[in-house]
Symmetry: D4
Subunit: 173 residues, 8 copies
């Protein structure tokens, strides 16, 4: 697979604070694995609102097709972005110290009618990357084939680890 970053950026990954990078890199890893071009930014809906608007409103013109946005706490970033673009926005709730990430999840998922955010699980940035590929796959058979292969591989890996399970069990008991 050629280096996807030299290719067209199809997914813009964005997070509310660069302290979220550890979590959000999982989205990038999934995109790389599935051969989807990406770019990444840490911009805050609350500290750099105009910069976020400018960035988001420029995406469509540059051919970016999907946005993955991660945020913790009040976690407005995915919704704020969804307000500014007809592109689909995938939201990643990030667990911060308080209330177990439920605050972020509810802030991201409970959007008003007309402005959805496609929400994945708490800290589930890897799944955000895979979902982005699935979305692109609706219009791009090659990406869909990669998703299909990836999912098959997942199953194979589960089965091969299962084959070794009894060994581990016997050691433990």
């Amino acid at each position: 697979m050629s280096d996807e970053r030299s290719n067209q950026t199809r997914v813009g990954v964005i997070m509310g604070s660069d302290s979220d990078l550890g979590v959000m890199l999982d989205a990038v890893r999934a995109l790389k694995q599935l051969g989807v071009g990406w770019e990444i930014n840490a911009l805050s809906a609350h500290r750099t609102p105009h910069r976020v608007a400018e960035y988001v409103e420029g995406l469509e013109g540059r051919g970016v097709q999907i946005i993955i946005a991660g945020a913790g706490g009040a976690a407005h970033l995915p919704g704020v972005i969804a307000a500014l673009t007809p592109l689909p926005v995938i939201g990643v709730p990030i667990k911060s110290t308080a209330t177990d990430g439920l605050d972020s999840l509810l802030s991201i998922v409970q959007m008003p009618p007309g402005v959805p955010v496609a929400t994945v699980g708490i800290n589930a940035a890897r799944n955000a990357g895979i979902l982005a590929a699935q979305i692109l796959g609706t219009g791009d058979p090659e990406v869909r084939d990669r998703v299909r292969a990836y999912k098959k591989e997942l199953g194979t890996s589960v089965e091969s680890r299962n084959a070794k399970l009894m060994e581990r069990v016997e050691k433990e008991l």
Copy 2:
């Protein structure tokens, strides 16, 4: 806009029980409004597991591109479907009598790595329909234009209702 149902079905709407129809029709209404072909079924992951598998595995061959799945309580349907297809699955948590729909939301959104479900808000079937159109829009400029127009309209409607707000306020005070 021509009758989208005579056209290609692009979105399969499915719910865990036909008692969820009241909520899930909002997804259909959004798809109709945005000119996206749909079909609808009520099949249960727990009562008709083989029928669900058969249905889901046939979708890609018939050209269906996205699945919208609504379910309440333990709400496994969206995840069960996501396990069976590389197509993107949009999950709608449906509020049943207990625990305010939080059980459904968590059952749908907290999927394991590799098998995402694009989750919208509790009972937010309308947003599921719009999200489906946004997803199709990544590969279909015409649909994306309809989403753009729809979002613009949303704003216009908010502003025109705002213009009449003071009248309502004066009556109430």
Copy 3:
């Protein structure tokens, strides 16, 4: 007390949807009672983001000193406004159908460092109005005196209702 609306608007009341008017009028009633000039709008952070920005960024120039923002569900409006102005923003979480208003409360209160929202209780728009007067009272002794008088009155009313409590008790037992 002269009609406060013919006077300077000191507090901008804003809500995410005109369906929140029933709750948010309590803020207006409190402002009227405490002689504080107000204006009111229903603008959505998600459906009219640019209109919100334009409105908020114009407030300071018109001499508005505080914003009261109410929103339900994902409830981004107060935080989105706080991102755009150095004025203090009071947030009112509005209870919608799901999760008892806790989603709105957490979305409003859990703001990131640097961008606070002064949050009041769920549906507590009346308290938002009183808090606005208390805030203005830090720089305006006349308003502070009205707050002081209002609070004294509150106590008197509790005591006079208490004086009649035994009558009610005797009827019930």
Copy 4:
């Protein structure tokens, strides 16, 4: 007690990911202690759905009488299995990083009418093993006697530890 694994497998223990083995071994330990034959697998409802179906549908024919299924997060595995068999399914919610295991508990216990899962506490795999023995005990007096003896022993052990409590207390105070 003879090695129960050379005997008839009566309980199939299954978990959604081999990372759950640490928790699920407690079920095996309880089964061993109560002389009930078992087998163990790590298969995912979401990554290996067909393998799960094949495995579950083969259990009854091999004389397996009960399934213990553990899963975390969205935790669909116990319910997915319950959909495929008339055998009783015991579900073990496994605590993952977010929301304290409440997501798993609700995903497992809130099953729709007709398809129950016998749910035990969060991470309570030991109790799942004991419950399996109690269930077998409804048709097998020997197993029931072992459960009775086990429960009696539990009480004796509590009382003998209680007898030494004052010593510990005196050291601490």
Copy 5:
């Protein structure tokens, strides 16, 4: 099917208060439908503790094989019963006015090691009845066959209702 009540009582249904009867009758209905003999009592772990002990400790001698216990609020009844018998106990959390039944669910499911309660969903007494039949089915092939038939019927009914879904949809749209 002969009147199961003249037959052997195999399941003792018990609830903490006769105000829970509306919910708990669903367990009886399921047992009747599956041809399992039952009896029913309303006895309180907190108001009649000795009566509960006497009743539970007499069950095994009378050939009763399973207990279904429903309770709301602090909901100790299922656990108190499980402490007194080697028989499997199925717990039904009953939703009372506060905290949506989550208090009852946690009080029932979070049992200490050694004393499990097989918990079903909030208010899910019907599933408790079906689970009891599944448990009996581990030792009684006839009951297991009835469960199998019941589950098949469930699926058939879902499919036949699904066949009429489009009619309902067309009326609504």
Copy 6:
């Protein structure tokens, strides 16, 4: 103060498992400090139900006046005891690994009409000891005076630590 244990035992401290001793010793420490005679046991409502009944029903005859009962998880012990005695029972919810102690709190506090448990905060065994002394103080002026003195001391200690606060602040800034 003479050794209160050689005196009359007025408070029976009991916990569901001796693993709760670390938390429950705080109750003993408070009782010692307030000169109230105590005894302590670790007995389980679920593993030693008859032993608990025997113990509780013997308390009144031995002149014990109050029971402090701590338990985690399903936490039935305080309620089970309250069912067996007219003495007041103080319940201490103990935080175990899951759901932050909220399960224990709800299991203890949400008792049915007629059988209250006087519940204190999660892990707040110290407060249980103080509450026991306050309760005894309703009939014993000497104990009430010790409580009064203790509370005064609390205030003095807060004020003296406050007097040194600025020193700590200056070091930190």
Copy 7:
């Protein structure tokens, strides 16, 4: 039993707002039934703080032995009272519109070390009255005997209603 109100007031019932009277009368009813003298007031910790202090600090001198305090929402009243007296304070969390009474429960029960509030269930004012009698019973054998009789009666009433349960069941099935 003589009219307890003409006798010594032993329990001061207080609530944060006279809108809580409907709930709090259950405490009075229990006190009347158990022959304990009472008085009742509606005073607010937040609207009449000095009046609350004056009232509470006068109770001991008038021979009042226990305070029952009910409050909803932030529900500070029981804790504020506990800060002002060595008498035991029983707290009744009152369910208001939002968050199901959990806010009130946590506000009342989670008191800091040194200042306990004996908390009963949400809206459980009846249990507060019974607990007050149990507390008085530690120093007053006559009241304790009434509690004992009351608890016995509770059991008898459960058993007599149970005796009629099958009639009701047969009507329903």
Copy 8:
């Protein structure tokens, strides 16, 4: 900026226990950074109620304009203070060991009508300090200018860290 402490104290910072100092110093740091005079105390609503009243009622006379109050657990301090003064009170919920700080948040924010507390996020003392400056800014253009500058700086810092993000990403991948 001159040493603000030698100037007029405009904000009184207070916490319920000196163990909260680590969190509450963030409020002081923000006030220092924004040139606002402050003082700090650790006084308990429950252990030193009269000292709190005396302190709060003296603030207005000394020219203090705002109170920032932090508390954990039952967290009554901010509300107790708000009852005693017409000055605006900012509440900081402090996370203690149990229930993730949600107990403190609800205790602080859910105030009754007439007595608001301006609540910030859990442990968000820094935001309390910034909010205090914003409030003073309504009457003091110099402080408002400092807030404006501070917010601008926030944005600049986000953008400059974003400029270095790709370097960090490249190292990690």
